[in-house]
Amino acid sequence: MLNNAMLNTYAPAQPASDTPAPGLSRRSFLTASLAAGGGLLLAVSLPRFVGEALAADGPFAPDAFIRIATDGTVTLVMPQVEMGQGIYTALPMLIAEELEIDLAGVRLEHAPPDGKLYTNPAIGFQVTGGSTSIRGFYEPLRKAGASARTMLVAAAAQMWGVDPASCDAAKGVVLHPASGRRATYGSLAEKAAAIPVPKEVALKPVDKFTLIGTPAKRLDVAGKVDGTATYGIDVKLPGLKVATVAACPVFGGKLKSVDDTEARAVKGVRQIVKIDDAVAVVADHMGAAKKGLAALKIEWDEGPNATLSTEEIVKQMAALATSGPAVDDKKVGDVAAAEAAAARTVKATYQMPFLAHATMEPLNCTVHVRPDSCEVWVGSQVLGRAQATAAEVTGLPAEKVTVHNHLLGGGFGRRLEVDSVTQAVKIAKQVDGPVKVVWTREEDIQHDIYRPYYYDQFAAGLDAQGKVTSFRHRVVGSSIVARWLPQAFANGLDFDAVDGAAGPYAFPNLHVDYVRHILPEGFVTGWWRGVGITHNAFIVEGFVDELAVESKADPVAFRRGLLANDARARGVLDLAAEKAGWGTTLPARTGRGIAVLFGFGTYMAQVADVEIGKDGAVKVRRIVCSVDCGVVVNPDTVKAQVQGGIVYGLSAALYGQITLKDGRVEQSNFDNYQALRIEEMPEIEVHIVDSREAPGGMGEPSTAGVAPAVVNAIFAATGQRLRQLPIDPDRLKGA
C-alpha cells in the first residue's frame, strides 16, 4: 500500500510557505486517547495529497505518536529513521518548543511497522528520504505540542476550578501564579486525555522561539563514539549464523550450478544456500563465509545481458534524444518562434553517469523465518516495504512479520530499496534459525540500484544583447518513479527526472520534455542523494554558465538577470558571491565558479574555488555556500548537512561512475569507486539566510550544488567546458 508519505517524499518541490500547499487536505490531524500503561497519547497525522490512492477523507491514519507518561516523560514515536541527518534531534525540538519542556525531556522511539501497538493499524508506508522529515512535520508537530500543552493546562484548571487563561506552562509544569499552585505534566497526563483536542491552537511566532533555531546538541551520538550504537549489521541473536552472498555478476542472470565441495570443507562453514540468481555461504562468522564463498565453483546462466556495456546504453540514449517519443513537462510561450527570431542559438549535450551509493555500512539484513512467523532486523528507510516483501517471500500475512529497525550506516537513497531484504528472506527460508546476510563491499557496489545515467540536450536562443529568449531542455534517462512509485508515473512523465530542469529561472519561452530510457531487465536504477535536483542542477547550471559566456556576461550578473522575479534565489546568489569575494583576482591556474538552485523548498548557491595542476588534477580549495532553507530548526545540523552533502557530491563529481562491460559492473571497492578523503576536503563556509519561511529540506541540496560550481570554476581556470561527469583530468592537462 502506498500512501501520502510517498508522494510527500518525492513530490516535486513546492515553494515553501506557511499555509498547506495546494492539493493538501485539511482534515483532522490529531487525536488524543489514554495511553496503554497510563498517560496521554496523541496521534499525529501529516497532510496528505488529495487525489492520491489513499482517499483524503479516509480513516485517520497517524504518522507519529506523542506519549506523555504519568512520570512526565515525553516520548515521540515516529517512523523517521536516523541516518546521520540529525532528525532525532530536530523533530523533538519542534514538540518541545510548543509543549514547553526541555529538549532533554523528549525521548524517541522507532515506530515499528505494526501500528496495532498504538491502536491504529495504519502507520502505512514509512519513509525517510527526500529531505521531507522537517518539511512534513514542521507544522503538525508544533501543533501537536501546543495542543497537548493546552489540554494539560485545561486539565489543571479544571482540577483547581480556575480559568485556564490564568495558568501558565513552563518546563513540564502547569502553574497558577495567583494561587501558587503547580502540577507536573505527568500528574496531569491522564486527566488531559479526557479533555477534547482543541480545534485551533495558536503557534508561537518565529521570533518567540526559544529552542527552534538554537544549535541543540544531537541526542543520538554518545553510542556512536564508544562502539555501543547498534546498526543493522551489529545485530546479535542466540544461534545467529552469518552469510555472505554472490549474485549473478551479470544483471538478470541466474545461477546454473555450483560445486561446493571445497567450500564445505572450510572450517566454520555450515551450509550453502542456492536461490535462483544467487548463492550464499552460511557460516559461524563472516571470515568463514567469505572464505567459503571464494572456494565455490559457480556457473552462471548469464542471460540476455551478457554483452551489455555502458557504450551500448549511451548509444541507445543518444538515439532516443533525437527520436523520442518525448513527453512534455513544461511549455511556456513559443519556443520555436523565439528560436527562429534569435540572433544566436546555443546547443549542448550533457551526460551524467550511473552511480552507486556506497553507504559506509554495506547492505545487510538479518532474518529468522519460523513456520508461522518471520522476524527481520535491518536498517531501512522503508519499513513498510521491508515488511511487505518478507510477507510475500514467506507467504505469511504481514502481521506475522515483525521488522526491527536499526540505525543506518548511511542511507543516501540506497535504503529506500528492499532488494537485499527480499534476498535475505529467500536465503533465511532455507536456514534453520536466524541468519545475518552481509554483502561484501564488492557485492554492494556491483549489485546496487544505481542513480540513472542521464543524457540531456539543450538549445537556447539569445538575442543580439545576449539575453536568453528561449530555453529548451530534453531529459533522457530511465524512470525511477515508474518502478518505485508507479501511480505517480503519470502519462509517461517522471517528475523526478525533470525536477529543476529549468533551474530556478524564469525563461520567457521554455520547453522541458522527457524521454524514458528502458534499461534491460535486472539492471535497476533508484534514488540517490539529491535525486532529480542533483542531476538537473549540474546540467542546467553548467549550460547557463555557457550562456553567460556566450553573452560575454559575468556569471553572477547573468543569473541575477534571469532571477528578476525570485528574491530568495537572488538573495542566496548575491550572498554567496559576496562572501566568496566574487570578482577578486585569483592566482594562475585557479578559477572560481558559481551555481544556484532551488530544491526541496530550499534555495542555495555555492561558489567553488579550484586549482588545476599541470597534470590536470583538480584541487577544490574552498566552497562558499549560502542557503535559505526557511526557518532553521537546528543551525548546527544545517551546517553539518551542507558539509556532508558537499563531500558526497564532490566524491561523485571527481570520481563517481559505474560502468558496465560484458553485463558486469567494472567497479568493485573504494580503490576504483573512490570517495573523497580528508586531505582532499575543501574549506567550506556556510552562510544561512535569516528567514521566516517554512523550513526546506537540507539533506539533499548541497550535494546537488557542488558539481556545477566546481565545473564552472574549472572553466574559469582553464577554458575547458566539461559537460560530463565525473571530471576527466586528462582533458585539463596543460590546459
Binding site: M83, G84, Q85, G86, K217, R218, V221, A222, K224, V225, D226, G227, T228, A229, T230, Y231, I233, D234, K236, V242, V266, K267, G268, D284, H285, M286, G287, A288, K290, K291, T359, M360, E361, P362, L407, G409, G410, G411, V438, R441, D636, A640, Q643, G644, G645, I646, V647, Y648, S651, N669, F670, D671, A675, L676, R677, I678, E679, M681, E683, I684
Partner: protein, 157 residues
C-alpha cells in the same frame, strides 16, 4: 586452530582458521561489534584497531599474525587519555553523522594524538587519509583532533 588473544586487557580463546581476519573474530566470534566492516581490503579504515598502540586495519590482519600483542578496540579506547580526549572532542564538536565510520576514525585519531600532541594539518592528513567517511564529516574530524590534542597536551603538563 586455537588462539589466545589479548583484547582490551582481557584474554580470549578462539578457535578459527589461522587466516581468519581479526575483524571477524572481534565482531562475529567475540561479539565486539564496535569495530566496523566497510571494505575488507584496507581501503576505508572502518575496521581500525590498535595493535600494541599502532593503528591497524583488522580486516586484513589475519589472526595468526597477532601473537600476544595487545589489541585495543573502540570499546576500550576511552580508557586511554588520548582516546578519552578524542571521544570527548567528537561529542563537543558534533562530529558524528551516521556514525558508522567513526569507530575507525576515533581509533586512527587516538593513535595520532597519543604520539603527537601538536599535530599539523599534514600530520592529520597522513594519519586520517585511510579513513573514509561517506557522510563527509572530515572538517569536524580535523577540528576535533586539534581540540583533543590541545586538551591532552594541557593535561599532560
Amino acid at each position: 586452530m586455537s588462539f589466545t588473544l589479548k583484547i582490551n586487557g582481557t584474554s580470549h580463546e578462539v578457535d578459527v582458521d589461522d587466516d581468519t581476519p581479526l575483524l571477524w573474530v572481534l565482531r562475529d566470534v567475540l561479539g565486539m561489534t564496535g569495530t566496523k566492516f566497510g571494505c575488507g581490503a584496507a581501503l576505508c579504515g572502518a575496521c581500525t584497531v590498535h595493535i600494541d598502540g599502532a593503528p591497524t586495519r583488522s580486516c586484513i590482519t589475519t589472526i595468526d599474525t597477532v601473537g600476544d600483542s595487545a589489541i585495543t578496540t573502540i570499546e576500550a579506547v576511552g580508557a586511554s587519555p588520548a582516546g578519552r580526549h578524542i571521544q570527548q572532542a567528537w561529542l563537543d564538536l558534533e562530529v558524528v553523522q551516521c556514525g558508522y565510520c567513526q569507530s575507525g576514525q576515533i581509533m586512527s585519531a587516538a593513535a595520532l594524538i597519543s604520539d603527537n600532541k601538536t599535530p599539523s594539518d599534514d600530520d592529520i592528513d597522513n594519519a586520517m587519509s585511510g579513513n573514509i567517511c561517506r557522510c563527509g564529516t572530515y572538517a569536524r574530524i580535523r577540528e576535533a583532533i586539534k581540540h583533543a590534542a590541545t586538551a591532552y597536551a594541557g593535561e599532560a603538563k
